[in-house]
Structures are given as C-alpha cells and as structure tokens.
Amino acid sequence: MSGDHHHEPGFIRKYVFSVDHKVIGVQYGVTALCFLFLGFSLMMLMRWQLAYPGEEMPFIGNIFGEDAMPGGVMLPEFYNSLGAMHGTIMIFLGVVPLLVGAFGNYVMPLQIGAPDMAFPKLNMASYWVYLLGGIVMLCSFFVPGGAANSGWTSYPPLSNIATTGQTWWLFGMVCLITSSLLGSVNFIVTIIQLRVEGLTMFRLPYFVWAQLITSFLLLLAFPPLEAAGVLQLMDRLAGTSFFMPEGLVVSGVVQTQMSGGGSPLLWQHLFWFLAHPEVYVLILPAMGIVAEIIANNTRKPLWGYRAMIYSTIFLGFMSFIVWAHHMFMTGMGTKISAFFATTTMIISIPSVVILTALVISLYQGAIRFTVPMLFALAFLPMFAIGGLTGLPLGLPASDIHLHDTYYVIGHFHYVVAPGTIFAIFAGIYHWYPKVTGRTLNNALGYMHFFLSFVFINMVFMPMFWQGMAGVSRRLYDQTVYAHGDAVQSLTIMSSWGAWMLGLAQIPFIINFFISAVAGKKVSNNPWDATTLEWLAPSPPPHGNFETVPVVYRGPYEYSVPGASEDFHPQHVTTEA
C-alpha cells in the first residue's frame, strides 16, 4: 500500500486485477448477472420437468448427457442438482454479489464522497475469492454424480451421504463466505471512516444505511455457516459424526464406520443462524435502491427518513433472533417456538414501517414514470405480497399445513424475485448512465418492465394455491399425489410464465449491451438527483471526484419551496 503510483497502470492492472472500487463493482456486476442468468436457466429446465413430468424435453433435451437426461428425460438426481444449484447460485452468486458487490461497491463510495474503499486490495481479493467460489460451484456440475443435490439448505445426514458434488459445494461456500466477510469489513470501515466533511450519519442516503446494516449482517451471520461448512467437510472427509446420530441404516447398510453422537438439528441451527439474516441481506439493499429511486422520481423527500433508518437498524438486529422459525417442524416444543414466533411477529413491524414510509412518500409527489421508477414501484406491492404471506408461515400453527409446501416457495420468491430482482433492475436502469455515460433505451426498458411484471406474477402467484392444496416443495413429480395432481394445471401455468419471463429478458440483454456503445450520451446528472454520486463525472475517473466535495444538507432535498430548480444537491453551498 506504499509508494507512489502516479504512472498509468497497464491494462491488466487497470481492468482485471484492479483495485479501483468502480472496476471491481463492474466486475462483480457482470459476473453476478451472468450467474443470475445461469441460475434462471436452471430453473427454466426444472420447470419443464415440473410441468410435463417424465416427458422428453424438446429441442435441448439431449445436450445434457446420459447421466442427467437419458433420452431427453430429466432424472431426479439432475432435478435435485438443478434445484440445489438454482438456490445457491441465485442467492450466493447472483443476488448478494449484485446488491452488495456491484451496487454497494460502485455506488456507496461515490455517495459518501470517498475516493475509493478503505481497503482497495482487500476489495480486489474479495472479488477474486468470490469468482473462485463461483468457478468451484460451476465445476461441481461436471464431477461424478453431478452438482450438490441436497437442496440449497444442505440438510445432513442427506448431504453427508451425498455425492462428491456436495464437497465442492462446501468448498465453494467457504470461498463465498470468505469473500463476503472481506467485503463487509471493507464496507463498514469505508462508511464509518471515509465520509466527506459534512456528511453526518443522518445525511447519508438511505442506500448507504442499508449497505451498512447489511454489512453487519454479513459480518456476524456468515461465520457460523463457515464453521458449519467446516464441520460438514469434516463429516464428509474425515468421517466425523457432527451431524450423524448413531445406528443409521442407509439403503439397508448399517453405518458402522461412524461413531454417532451428533445431531442433524445442529446443522439446521447453524445454517439458519446465517440464512435468516441472509434474507435481510437480500432485501435491505434492495429497499435502499428503491428508496433512492422513489425519492428521485417523486421529486420529494422520503417520508419518515429517520423512522426508516431506525426500522432498518431494528430489522438488522432482530434478524439474528428469528432463525428458528424455519425449524418449527423439527420437533420443537412450545417455549422455543413461542419465542421465535414472537420475534418473527415483531420483525414484521419494521418491515411494515419501511413499506408504509415508501408508499406515503408517493403522496403529494410528482411521480415520473421512468423505467427505474416503474421497477421500483412494482417492488412495493410485490414485496408487500411476499411480506404478508410470511405471516402464515411465521405462526407455528398455520405453518403446520404450509411448511415445506409451494406456499413457502411463493412467499420467498415474491420477496426476492419480483422484490429484490426488480430492485436490481431498477438500480441498473438508474445508475447505468453513471457507469457508462450513456442511458439505456427507454422503449426496450418499458417493454422489459411490463412483460417481466406480468410474467413474474404468472410464475409465482399460482404457487400460493398449490401450497394451500398441500403440495410439498422439491417434488420431482407432484402428480404422484392426488392432491398434487389436482393442481397440476397451476404448475403448467407457472412453467409457461417462467419461460415467457425468460423471453421477456431479451429486450434487457439487448439493451444492456447495445446501449453501452450506442446509447444516448448524457450529462453527469441525468435524473436531476441530489446525492453525491451524480456530482462525479460519468463515468467517474480514478479517484472519483475532481475536488473533494463538502456536504451541506440531507440526501433528498427535492422541491424545496422557493428554489429555482426542483432539486437541491447535497454538495451545493447556496441555501435555497
């Protein structure tokens, strides 16, 4: 970190092993979008088997090989691999790296006026460890027995006796967790230490707050899974019995090689200690993006900015003590379940507060229906559905019927797919001009939004009815059950929705690449926004700002009475 580097770095230093937060942000973004697309493709394959169980897949059925799809018919082991890897890739390789790695890395230092992240080399290391984890995960598809197929939750003993892919999964997860840890340390230090003069904590854009809380969640929730991953690796490679009780008989073979004495519940506790805060890692930065865009496009300060921040802090804290609501069905008594059901009900309150604040922010605004705004607006009802359907799952009694059914799938997909992923799209449309200096095409953008909005609902809405009917999740073929067969038409509808949703992404993909070279050139502040990132040139140079800005006011000073313009940037000296 020493010495002067005033000479121009070479291509590799500048664009590949770069320590510039913007390059790393773009690297994260592009890689994660690729993984997002891959994860989505896996799901589209699964949807064929779900809709038309045991039928030959048209067109592409024969390219997956005899071990996965003999004669074009998907085998259950491949289906389970797809399911497990869809979850893992979407969450750990797609959405989190996009929200934190890409948006956090690119936008957050700009929004606080910092020249870079506090530890640039650590930042670079974080990306490369993430990429390594991603490559390990991808390679696992090609090992004997295929990729991990015990679900993204990897419950032992099943995962302990699973094929080699599971070991790869664990190594991949250890890499990804390490990457997140490095990133979160960096984020917290950057936000606390590197804010420019005048940018007090309560003048920070809500997005930065969301990133701060998220980083704390990553920092404190991920290590237990790393430990659990090490324990499972020990179980798989060194023959220990952390998660295995004695006397198991697998396929008629008595498992005498292991000592026993462990418990499968231990994994579930350690896993969900991570995975519940993880849910908020998925949603908080998304809320941050949405809040930025809503304030910008309603031309009005956010309603209840402080209440939102307090709610976010509370949400972050509470998210650590609700984890066992995923485990109501594991033989839990009344006391622990009462505790966790209560905390679960409590944690819904701050979510309601944030959502209310965002919707009241629309009131008396002047809403511009730009493409990012449409995605941000769609986030609100979608997240509301996702949140509300969490209630029956959080109450132990109604969870008896709905646990591990499609209702759960519908619930959390409403939070992360039309919720978080729409927020990601909103963010891409919003900050694309900052990254490239050009805007995305509007017509393609509108097309992308409307098609995605309709079809994503067509995918997930039927799942609530399927869940009500009692259909278990992760079934290779639900028609073997009478109650599943009765709602098979919903599955087919869902599948068609998914494929159509896939087609709906084509305008976006075209837009994303063409506009980078041929999009309309825009000024530094095309959206007439107030936060600091719009002060920097588009794209920002190395070191971000020509002169270090000073901040004089809060983040969302729009439509200040008596001002000549309807926005009043944070760095402008003059009072309105």
Binding site: M1, G3, A118, S184, Q193, L194, L219, L225, S263, L266
Partner: protein, 206 residues
C-alpha cells in the same frame, strides 16, 4: 491505490478516533468471534445432547486421553507470546526498531513452539493411539477446534514473519504506519490467545 490518497490510513479519524486498519481488524475479530462462537455452540450442543452412559457418552478426565500438562504448557507459551507481542509494539512505539524486532522474533518462535507441541506431541501421539477425528464426537470437536485454532496461529506466524522480514521496509518509509500494522497484528494475536484460554479448560480439564 496509494496510502496517501485514502484518508485515515495512518492517522486516526478525528471523530471516531480510529485509523482504518484498527477498525477493520476489530470488525474482523468480531466475525472470528462468531466463527469460534459457532464451534463453541457445537461443543455445548453436542455435550448437552450426549447420553450419560454408552459409547457416545461425553468423556471426562482420563477418558479424554488429553495431556493437560502439554495443554497447560501451551497455554503458558501462548500467554508469553502475547506479552512479547505487546512489548514489541511498545518498542516500535518508542522508536526502538531493533528491540521491537527481537520481541517479534521471540513471539514467532513461541508460536512455532506452540504449533510444534500441538502437532508433534499431541496430534502425533493420538494418531499413534488410533485416535482420529472420527473416533467420537469429542475428538471430532477437539480436532476441529484445535485444528482451526492452529491454522489461526500459523496464519499469525506468517504475518509476524512478514513484518520481521520483507514488511520491515515499511518502517523506513512510514514508522507510524508500520507501528499501526504491528498493533493490528497484535490485536489478532491476542485474540488467538484469548480463544485458547477458553479452549484449554473446555477440552483438557472439563
């Protein structure tokens, strides 16, 4: 990115009173607490779940085959290395590079001694007695916890050796920066010591 461009790399932030590295290392230690916390949780969980009797009962005293003398010796070694680490920092702080470096070297030697005792006398002896991680959950958690701890020690040794050797160049360029980094290394090192202080009684004595 050069240190000069980023603020508070060396000098503490006027409001928070911290330079970036120190805050960073504390956050890192917080995550380490949770990492070992999960292992302690595992220990408590498995121990509370173990039956009173039978093959999966929790071993105590002689049944553990652990040598408390070696464990105790290692505790003393690690505590001593903590002292030398902090003394090294004191010397750097007082602009006394040569003395500080000697303390660092002592720290590294003590750490290597710790690892040597761990591997050469404890692990080797147990492997010799056919005691492996798969023998019972007690040994599973013993090997995992001490193994992970040993990896932390080795990592610390690598960092300390770096500051004894190639990293010492920084002293010429920026003394305060170097001292700060030694402080951060020290914080990590004391944390590793602190973990051992808990590992020793729960594994060897209880």
């Amino acid at each position: 990115m050069s240190a000069e461009v980023l603020p508070y790399t060396v000098k503490p932030h006027p409001v928070t009173g911290l330079y970036n590295g120190k805050f960073g290392i504390w956050l890192f230690l917080a995550s380490e607490v949770m990492l070992f916390g999960a292992l302690f949780s595992t220990y408590v969980f498995l121990r509370m779940g173990a039956p009173e009797t039978g093959p999966t009962a929790w071993p105590t005293g002689e049944e553990t085959h652990l040598n408390w003398m070696l464990g105790g010796l290692n505790t003393l070694i690690l505590i001593l290395s903590s002292v030398t680490m902090v003394l090294a920092w004191v010397q750097f702080k007082m602009d006394n590079f040569a003395k500080g470096r000697i303390y660092l070297i002592i720290t590294a030697i003590l750490a290597i001694a710790f690892v040597a005792i761990k591997f050469k006398f404890e692990y080797a002896h147990k492997f010799h007695m056919d005691i492996y991680p798969k023998t019972s959950v007690f040994f599973a958690i013993y090997y995992t916890m001490t193994g992970l701890h040993a990896i932390h020690i080795i990592g610390g040794v690598v960092v300390i050796c770096y500051f004894i050797g190639p990293g010492a160049k920084l002293w010429e360029e920026n003394r305060e920066y170097y001292t700060n980094r030694i402080e951060c290394t020290g914080l990590y090192w004391h944390f590793v010591d602190l973990v051992w202080i808990f590992l020793f009684p729960i594994l060897y004595l209880l």
